[in-house]
């Protein structure tokens, strides 16, 4: 009898502890989000979204930062999606699982995912800006400083390297989900491997490619460290128009607002609102990825 009671008590205690753990998580998220929404909401006006910062960032809006962020992630997508799809196709369709090339490159991708993002920033500075950029300047612009400096394109490339594992994993997962019987059917009809990949496997993995792209964008939009040294600017009077222009970016703008402001109290409301915008943006992107995935799954189920 006592034994039964003890077991019952232990059961209840475990239930209470696990429920408490969940509550703590939910409460933390609620505090963070609630705080930001509460303080960020009131200053969120059309002007805030469409104007440039004024008066030492204590007035005006954040349009250049939004513009820069969008430009950065779009450019990053252009680099990272094709490259990621290629690597994923190699891993899933071509690589011999026992070959050293497969095992080494697989390990490389895993390690890439574990590298701290500030290291990517330094890599971008050292490789893209100093090595590639300077190289272009010497070769094409007879040494005149053009690409050998922090710029939009180098930031996008650095960000592409950072988000590459996200795309590879997502696309590979989708490729592996394509039934082997589709590949068999294709080969049995005389298709080459390339035809099978392009006409059967990739079209059926389209949702994975899309999801990979959007996840990369949402990850990229939230990163600051990689672009600290390779193109993000404190403040710019003009919007970037060329690949070698510098740019403002939301995450970096938050860092600037919170550490470099001449008047902390005056900046605070702007800071809150900027954080709110950044959160909303990443949240929306994730939601889009989720919705697209669900819709494509339904479409695939009914065969369209």
């Amino acid at each position: 009898m006592i034994h039964r009671l003890a077991a019952r008590l232990a059961d209840r205690t475990l239930w209470a502890l696990t429920a408490l753990a969940v509550l703590v998580i939910v409460a933390m998220l609620a505090v963070v989000l609630g705080n930001i929404v509460w303080h960020g909401w009131e200053r969120l006006t059309w002007e805030f979204l469409t104007a440039a910062p004024r008066v030492g960032m204590t007035e005006g809006g954040i349009f250049p930062a939004i513009f820069g962020t969008v430009l950065l992630v779009l450019l990053m997508t252009v680099f990272v999606v094709p490259l990621g799809v290629c690597v994923a196709v190699y891993f899933s369709e071509y690589a011999d699982r026992d070959s050293w090339l497969y095992r080494w490159s697989r390990q490389a991708v895993n390690n890439l995912a574990g590298v701290p993002s500030i290291v990517f920033g330094l890599f971008g500075l050292g490789f893209f800006v100093q090595f590639v950029g300077r190289g272009i300047d010497t070769a094409v612009y007879s040494g005149r400083l053009t690409y050998g400096q922090p710029a939009l394109i180098w930031a996008a490339l650095t960000m592409a390297v950072l988000t590459l594992p996200v795309v590879i994993v997502s696309v590979e997962e989708a490729l592996r989900a394509v039934p082997q019987s589709y590949r068999d059917a294709s080969y049995a009809l005389g298709a080459t491997r390339a035809q099978t990949v392009f006409r059967v496997v990739l079209p059926n993995a389209f949702s994975g490619v899309l999801t990979g792209g959007i996840l990369a964008v949402s990850r990229g939009a939230g990163e600051v460290a990689p672009i600290l040294f390779v193109g993000a600017a404190y403040f710019l009077p003009h919007l970037p128009t060329r690949l070698n222009d510098q740019f403002m970016e939301l995450g970096y703008h938050i860092y600037v607002l919170s550490t470099q402001s001449p008047d902390v109290e005056a900046t605070k409301p702007l800071l809150y609102t900027t954080v709110f915008v950044l959160l909303a943006l990443t949240f929306l992107l994730n939601l889009t990825a989720f919705a697209l995935r669900a819709r494509l799954r339904v479409a695939a189920g009914s065969g369209r």
Binding site: A188, A191, R199, V200
Partner: protein, 277 residues
Amino acid sequence: MNDTATRDFPLLKTEVRSRERSAAPPTAKIEVEGLTIRYGARVAVDRVSLPLYRNLITAIIGPSGCGKSTFLRALNRMNDTIPGVVTQGRVLLDEQDIHAPACDVIELRRRVGMVFQQPNPFPKSIYDNVAFGLRINGLVRSRAELDERVEQALRAAALWEEAKDRLRGSALQLSGGEQQRLCIARALAVRPEVLLMDEPASALDPVSTAKIEELMFTLKKDYTILIVTHNMQQAARVSDYTAFLLTGALVEFTLTPQLFTTPGDPRTEAYITGRFG
């Protein structure tokens, strides 16, 4: 000589309606000579030699895991797509060795079509499924020609009447039996010479199975057909010649009525009377 006759198979305890064979002596479309296939150390097919006669249906029967499917997949070199498979021996298609360096495996697979156990249409429209092989092989020059070849293939697979009004509809909305006939149409569209069928009816209901078998009779005047089946009644119903495979080795290969009435090997008799398998 395509008249209907009744075959009586007392050993199978079944009586099936079938057509008589042609009187002309058969000629080999494919000649298999000493074919051995290994997965690593395991021997799946062990020194099998047999002919596949032109315009006849050959059935391969045997218990699960006896190497039937592996044998079938060797004839269009589908085993090449599985890592670790080693093939020895010769397979001659119209007297040309399909493993010769000069043999183009893409062209081989166009000439030797295949239908799988599970219906595996692509998640595309009915039309695009049938057109797939024609498109990738560049076999048609115009849109009209493509339309025509798709229709021919669907008619040949006895699916045209059901499919003609929904060619743009998804293939996945067809029933299992229709999907399998679509897969047959897809294989026929590229005008193969040989059709390999790997238990084409095992996933289907009896009515769909009967339709597939009926279809095989009409197809054999244009194609050489090899069917792998674990269903002996089916082999007895549809085939002209039957091969019995046991643990990768060929036990017996002879005329179907003979194999099912007076088997030459006690193991064949034991198998068809249901004593093992």
